[in-house]
Structures are given as C-alpha cells and as structure tokens.
C-alpha cells in the first residue's frame, strides 16, 4: 500500500527506488528522506496521447517523486480518496482529480466525441470537455473531490448522477447524458436537475458530496 491516509485531506506516500509516485505538481506538503522531484511532461502514450493531452487540457501538470522517503500530498484542502486498481477495468476520471498515483499506472486520454454527440455533450456537462482520462494498470490512485467522494456499487441497475457531483468510475459501465429540458427550463423555472448522467452496468461510481467544481 503506497498511500496511507493521514487524514481526510492528506495522504502519505512511501516512495522507494522501485516504486516512484506520480503526483500533481505543487501538491507536495512536505517530505522526509532522500526524495527528488522531477517534472513530467505529456501524459498518455504515443503521439495520439500527446496530441490529445495538448488539445484537451487533460494535461494536468504532473511530477515524478523518486528516491527513498515519505512524502505528504494534499491539494487546496480538497478531500482525498485512495482507490486500489486491480488491473481490470480502468479508472475513468478527469485529469484534474488525480492527486497522485503509482508511476506504474498508465494514463491515457480518451476522446468522448467518438461516442457521438451525446457523449460529447456529457463531457461538456461534467466539465470534462470532450476528453477524459483513463488510468490503467494495477496500483493505487489518490483522487481529489470536493466534500469527499463515496462509492456507489452498480450491479446491472442504473443510477442517475448529477454531472457536477460525478467524480469517476471503475468497471464495465456506460455513461450517458439524459437531458430532460422542457419549456420550464428555458424560462428559468426548471428544477435545476434537467441534466443527469445515467450510468448503468457493473462497477463502482464515485460521487462527491458537493456540486462544486474546483
């Protein structure tokens, strides 16, 4: 377990020569031991990934933490959730939300536009733009959320999630934007819940306890 939660907003990473950690730049709070930080440019693999990262804004500046020691990470007082990925399905989330992860994990940028107009709109609604980040492999990820993220298990059923409260998901899930925009929404008398993400399949959806985007 490379990440240990110190409190709800800080994780402690145990870095050793075999297990470097990638973290958001500027998120280091302090460290002990012989640790060096190195900026990492460009996420994703291959030219597509680089171009995607450059185009999409899904190129959250990251840095590698190498050496031997213990490093504390936290960002802007946001809550931190540590997930263990088993190497099965990737974690799908926004690049902004990645506080730190094992360097063995690979990130790639996914273009939502290939799913048609609907997925493009859903990207726009969740604030993700037309791109989202996939985290592949086996290891631990520390995710940021405003107000703490909680996992919702899905076993074939479907749930609706407020696009602003959606953090990410793991598993065989389909994410679809349901828009129920009627006359009342147009004149400003809507419920404010006209847009929802309809998520179905088998897996876990992470939802934050706030509709605030950071």
């Amino acid at each position: 377990m490379p990440f240990e939660t110190v409190n709800s907003k800080v994780v402690r990473a145990h870095v050793s020569p075999g297990t470097p950690v990638l973290a958001r730049r500027g998120s280091m709070l302090g460290y002990s031991g012989q640790v060096a930080f190195r900026p990492v440019h460009g996420q994703g693999r291959g030219i597509g990934g680089m171009v995607g990262a450059a185009m999409s804004g899904e190129s959250n500046p990251m840095m590698a933490t190498e050496g031997t020691g213990q490093v504390l990470y936290g960002h802007k007082g946001l809550h931190v959730t540590v997930l263990e990925l088993d190497g099965g399905a990737p974690l799908v989330c926004e690049a902004d939300r990645l506080l730190a992860h094992d360097a063995t994990l690979q990130t790639s940028v996914q273009f939502l536009g290939s799913g048609g107009l609907k997925s493009a709109i859903s990207g726009a609604m969740t604030g993700q733009g037309l791109f989202t980040t996939n985290v592949h492999g086996r290891g631990a990820v520390a995710l940021l959320s405003h107000g703490g993220a909680f996992p919702l298990q899905l076993q074939g059923q479907q749930i609706g999630v407020d696009p602003q409260a959606y953090v990410g998901h793991v598993g065989q899930l389909t994410v679809d934007l349901a828009a129920k925009v009627g006359f009342r929404d147009v004149v400003g008398r809507g419920s404010g819940e006209a847009f929802q993400l309809r998520i179905g399949g088998h897996g876990t959806v992470y939802v934050q306890a706030s509709e605030k985007k950071f």
């Binding site: 409190n7 402690r12 709070l29 302090g30 002990s32 060096a36 936290g74 007082g77 946001l78």
Partner: protein
Amino acid sequence: MTYPPGNPYGQPQGNPYGGQQGNPYGQPYGQPQPHGGQPQPYGQPQPPYGQPQPGYGQPPPGYGQPPPYSGQPAPGGQPSWQPSTLNPHTLPDDDNVNPYVFCIALTGGEWFMSKGAMLAYYGDVRFDAVTEYSSVQAWVASRFSSPVYISDWVVAQGHGKLLIGDRGFDLNSYDLDDGNLTIKASNLCAFSKQLELKQSIVPGFVTLIGTGKFIASSNGPVIFVEPPFRADPDALLGWADCPSPSVHHDAQWMTQNLRGMISGALGRASGEERQYDFTGQGTILLQSSEVAREDPAVLRLVESQTQLLTNSQAGSLGQRLIARAQQQ
C-alpha cells in the same frame, strides 16, 4: 513541556462526536503517528478537554450506526452534529464548540486577538486596538513586541464568552508550558496575555514564548511530524523547540523545469522548488493543504527590508516586480 492540540475531536475518550466509527478526520492527530514513531509529548490525554458538553454529548439518534459506506476508503465525511442552541451557560470554557469555532471564557482578563477573528460574544467585552491599549497599560505592549503586526491585533477585555473563528478553518488550541512555538502569523487567531509574542526571523512567522494558551487555525487538521523533514512553505503552520529552518532548493527540479527555475529565482514557489528544511530535535506542525491566507504584514516586512538596497538595486527590483505583476 506539552502542546496538546487541545481539540476535543482528536481524542478517543469523551469524543463529542461520540459513537462514530472512526474519527471524521481519518486518523486522530495527537496520536502517535508512524512518521518517525516518536513518543509524542503532546499526545497525552488531557482531562479538561473532550468532556461532553451539555446538550452536545449524546450522539444524535441514528448516528452511532456505521455509515452505509463503512470500510470503503476515506468516506471523507464532514463531521456532523445535531445543531443545538447554545447559551452562555452551555458554551464551553476555553474549548472548541465545533471544529471551526472556539469559545474563550473571559473573566476580567485580557486576550490578544487577530482582527476579524471575533464571530460573536456574550457579556461585556471591549475590543481595543493594541496601539491604543499599550499607552494605558505599558506591560501589555511589552507582551507584544512586533511592530509589524501590531495594527492587525486587538485586545479583548471584559467578562463573557467570546466566540472566534477563521474562514471556516479548523481551530485548535495549544497550551505552552514554559516553551516556545513559532507559528504562521496569519493562522494565529488569539493568545492569552501570559504569552509573549515576538517576530520570527522567518518572514511571516511569529514566536510565542512562555506559559499560556493560544488558538491557531489550519486548513484541514494539523499534522505533527518530527525532523528531519522538509516542508512546503505554504503548508507549514509552525514549529516548536527546533532551530529555525533553513531553505532547501531542489537543484534537480530547478534545472529540469525552466519555469521552476525562474520562479525559484524570484522566490516564488509551488513547493517543489523550495522547501523549509528542519533539522535537530523538535516538532513541526503542518496543515492539510497548501492554502495560505495572504498576510498583509509580509508586505510591510519585505518593504522594510528593501532599505538594504541601493537606489539602483531598488529600481531594478521594482522593474522585476512590475513584470511579475503583469504576468499574473
């Protein structure tokens, strides 16, 4: 010498949020941490704190049961409590009302308070600027020997209950027993008159010396670590007993990151270029994020230091500062 982080929610016994499975802050601070595995002097149980307050102690119904997501990583819950109406008799004496509000019991004595920290008060309390007050009682001024900060502080005096808070940050009280603790000036909310405040050599920090109580805010819970440790200057809350830190520049980071090199040369840092390096024996206090409040006194402090410059040096500094201001 003890600095118990005088917080009612860090201790297992008499936890006002009793019955909850696990501390809302994940790991109770003030407990021995794996970091260094030190026998922490400030982790001692402190009887006066954490006693259930009237109308506050019982966990609300349906609260003691484990949350539906128990066992999952970091539910990250905000501590929740039943809102109860408080009055002067039910307000605690010199203790946290909740993690974000602290109640000081004034019984004729004086407290130094940061301007703007007062939320509300019961009773007959007077607030005087430290500068005015010092002319009346010279000894008070002798407790506050920091001209840079004197205009940001007031003296609260009288009888009553005084509630203080700071931007919704977590508040902790600390007891100094013939000790010294250096803390970020913008995070210090109040201190009792028995303590003496002095300006630290490190800009933006003040040192409290003596025996008494003070209250400081932090963005998120406070983390205690032991040297050797390097801290992000923005996340650093303070330190006790150890020598003043030195500045460590990460050469590797600066050579590999041009931007980092430039901003490092300008003294600006995201934390990776530049850290405060602590050595020796002592305790370091960190807050849970790098969110720091702008400290107006730092400007005055730096401005006073520019007297060291010659006129031409001051001119070139001015040009660089203008360039920086336009960049942002």
